[in-house]
Subunit: 462 residues, 2 copies
């Protein structure tokens, strides 16, 4: 692995200058504690080994809930509790696909979350191949009648994860767009940056106005093979079998806190999501994110009881979009000072974005100085959100704090069988914990009022 | 090296769909030609080997000029010419530095471009160490009297190069800020993402209101050593000797073009910069950038004479900020349709930003489809510029096109003795050329009017 760091040992030795304020000195102590603390790694190691994959609505999700409650209590969190909410669980069955013409070839595929099943005998048809998703959208109505639509657009590798956003509609909306044009099934090249035989799943969103057709992701290598085969000119036929079931179920968000000694009602809200996709062990998505939130809260509180409450939420159903409205409904009346969710893996932080208007605040200048030795910079560009599960509250005006971790490698493994513990580098993980912990400490031990700092244009309307 | 690509061979095989327009088919041919074309690599290989480093105002700069004129002519450019402009050349002399207390240690340093020399015997003093540049700015007036100010803040590694922007003031303005507080010399940790013993130079900008003190960059490893030593508590003393000279000189921007067959006065302006810093061979900064611009123009014109003129400028004095005003003064009356400068190394493109208002234009939708198979996405966020040498024209309203190449590795070597040919990966270089070439082709062979597309707010005032 590339050397990402200046020596962390050197960082931990940095004395703050003589003219530093007490808030800074304490935040530096929190940072340095986090850099050396095993809490975050132990969290994701234990979850990966002892619980494993935990699709919302599955038996494993209940085990994850119980594990998380016990873990938070063992770490000294108070008010540990479970907030249940109803979901429609989607559970995967056997899946297979193969090319049947011009020559047989087994394909590595995985059904998209929420996909309807095929008939038991599967669907078989000639493919309509699109090298870009825009080309599918440009296909005329009816032009895909009876066909299996295949989109093989590659995903750009980006440190900020933006390549995922660019391709997300191809997975989310592609099935309905293909169905609207007559397709009987849909295959999308995995939204992945690496080149491997492991397909990457993820949720789809059917539109009411289109028939629901079965949909799966192809491994990158199989998508490349289809591109090569298609260049030979002969029609390609594929047979696809997907089984799945849906059922009413319950999911749970687990919460715990370090109560505020001066202002217990003022909440610095951190979080990550407890559910995961099923093929891996959910170590980077989002075992690591939870570990960062838990580790950061733990490191901040180890400096002494915070003035404000530091609360951690382990959202119970992120992947299928159920946790966001449930959390917003349960907590819309809370006095949340600032909110942030960690859901971009285990690699090092490189940039931070603050709530609008906060960049010039003295407390945030202090924060910038505390994380500068970690090679993290605070951008003057304000955050636009921080995680899917917090989005409804952010839209309602809760200030958001966002840490950009290096996502260069994340989408090599995300949502695939390769989302496993070995991808986690302890030094990088702890650097991210330190970045969050210093913020949590300063937000919870100062009087900074992010809502008051926000420019008028950034405030929600009535 | 990590596998960044889907197979380029596969990309070259992609047939455009049946409903593609002729502009798209031709742009795809340009893209695929660029992917296989040796022009760009040959350009930077020859420049690195035959010319080498070429500081503006040096003897080597004149050799670079002559080489570039011959090279553009050999590649079929028309109207190849040289635009001279006066500069104040800064030329480096012998430099050395060492720790004298608490124990002797030779330091790897390099003077900042524009630095005044020390007296021949050097300057020696106790250091005032700042772990962040903000801490230096917070130091009171007079507090650095007689001291050598040292800033050791590390630079964040960022694919988009933003870590360089975050630290740039520490190099550019740091010397004057230190002098204003009484310092007699200034040392800054190299603005570099790697950990090496090679120091990285770059320009400083003295402020009129402060004394001019000598200033140099420390290698990252030496900056780390100083951090470690300082943690022991004993005062650290450093002795610094820098020699340099300034003299009136001439620099030259070299230009050539593929004249427009229908609208020769309408110019698609590409470019890179011909000057370089002195310690390496200027291969990534900016041999590669010029190679990309030259290669892109060449690949676009190989499809047939463009409707509009494609012009390439090889800016003759970027590093010390002289080429920008000279180019703007010489070309403010030109009808430049769109402008872009390539100056971020040789690695692959991952994102493109268009002039404001252009994202929805049909020609740009076509462009997005052409580059999507390269794993490049077109961001809806408009460009804010494209290179230092074009900035004055962009401020005056010329639409800018910007390609984000992967800068993750770039600042490991930038401005150091390690800026050499071996850092260039041919496949990545050609992927960047293809990204520029397809744009140049579409901009020069359509009637797209970027100025007309710009929203009112993006247009310059009277």
């Amino acid at each position: 692995m590339r050397v990402w760091f200046t020596t962390l040992a050197a960082v931990a030795m940095l004395a703050s200058p003589a003219f530093a304020d007490p808030l800074r000195t304490s935040a530096e102590a929190v940072r340095d504690r986090a850099l050396a603390d095993p809490t975050a790694y132990d969290y994701v190691e234990q979850l990966s080994v002892e619980v494993g994959p935990r699709l919302a609505g599955s038996e494993a999700a209940a085990r994850a809930r119980d594990w998380a409650v016990a873990k938070l209590k063992a770490l000294g969190f108070a008010n540990v509790h479970v907030e249940p909410f109803p979901i429609t669980a989607w559970l995967r069955g056997p899946e297979e696909a193969e090319i049947t013409a011009p020559r047989p070839q087994r394909l590595a595929i995985i059904g998209l979350g929420g996909s309807v099943p095929t008939p038991p005998e599967g669907v078989e048809g000639e493919i309509a191949l699109f090298h870009t998703y825009a080309d599918l959208l440009a296909a005329p109505p009816g032009s895909l009648a009876g066909k299996i639509a295949v989109v093989t657009q590659p995903m750009p590798r980006a440190q900020d994860g933006s390549g995922y956003g660019a391709l997300n509609p191809a997975r989310r909306a592609g099935p309905s767009e293909a169905a609207r044009r007559g397709a009987v099934a849909y295959l999308v090249r995995s939204l992945a940056t690496g080149v491997s035989r492991e397909p990457h799943t993820g949720a789809l969103n059917y539109q009411e106005s289109a028939p629901k057709i079965p949909a799966a992701a192809l491994s990158v290598i199989d998508a490349q093979l289809i591109d090569h085969l298609a260049a030979r000119g002969a029609p390609i036929r594929i047979r696809l079998k997907l089984a799945s079931a849906t059922q009413p179920a319950t999911a749970w968000t687990v919460e715990g806190e370090f109560p505020g000694a001066a202002h217990p009602d003022q909440i610095v809200q951190l979080g990550g999501h407890l559910d995961s996709w099923d093929p891996g062990t959910g170590s980077i998505d989002d075992g690591a994110g939870m570990a960062i939130a838990v580790g950061a809260a733990h490191a901040a509180a180890a400096e002494g009881p915070p003035k404000r409450t530091i609360r951690v939420a382990l959202f119970g159903a992120e992947e299928m979009d159920f946790a966001r409205p449930a959390f917003a409904a349960a907590h819309k009346g809370d006095n949340i000072v600032v909110i942030g969710e960690s859901d971009i893996g285990a690699d090092r932080a490189w940039k931070v974005q603050l709530p609008a208007g906060a960049f010039q605040a003295p407390e945030m200048k202090t924060y910038a100085a505390v994380v500068a030795p970690l090679a993290v910079w605070v951008s003057p560009e304000p955050s636009r959100g921080s995680g899917d599960d917090t989005a409804d509250l952010v839209r309602a005006g809760v200030p958001a704090f966002a840490v950009a971790q290096d996502a260069s490698r994340y989408f090599d493994w995300h949502h695939s069988s390769e989302d496993t513990l070995d991808k986690i580098d302890r030094d990088q993980l702890n650097q991210a914990v330190a970045t969050w912990a210093a913020f949590a400490y300063i937000a919870a031990n100062s009087d900074i009022d992010f809502r008051a700092l926000a420019p008028a244009a950034a405030k929600p309307g009535p």
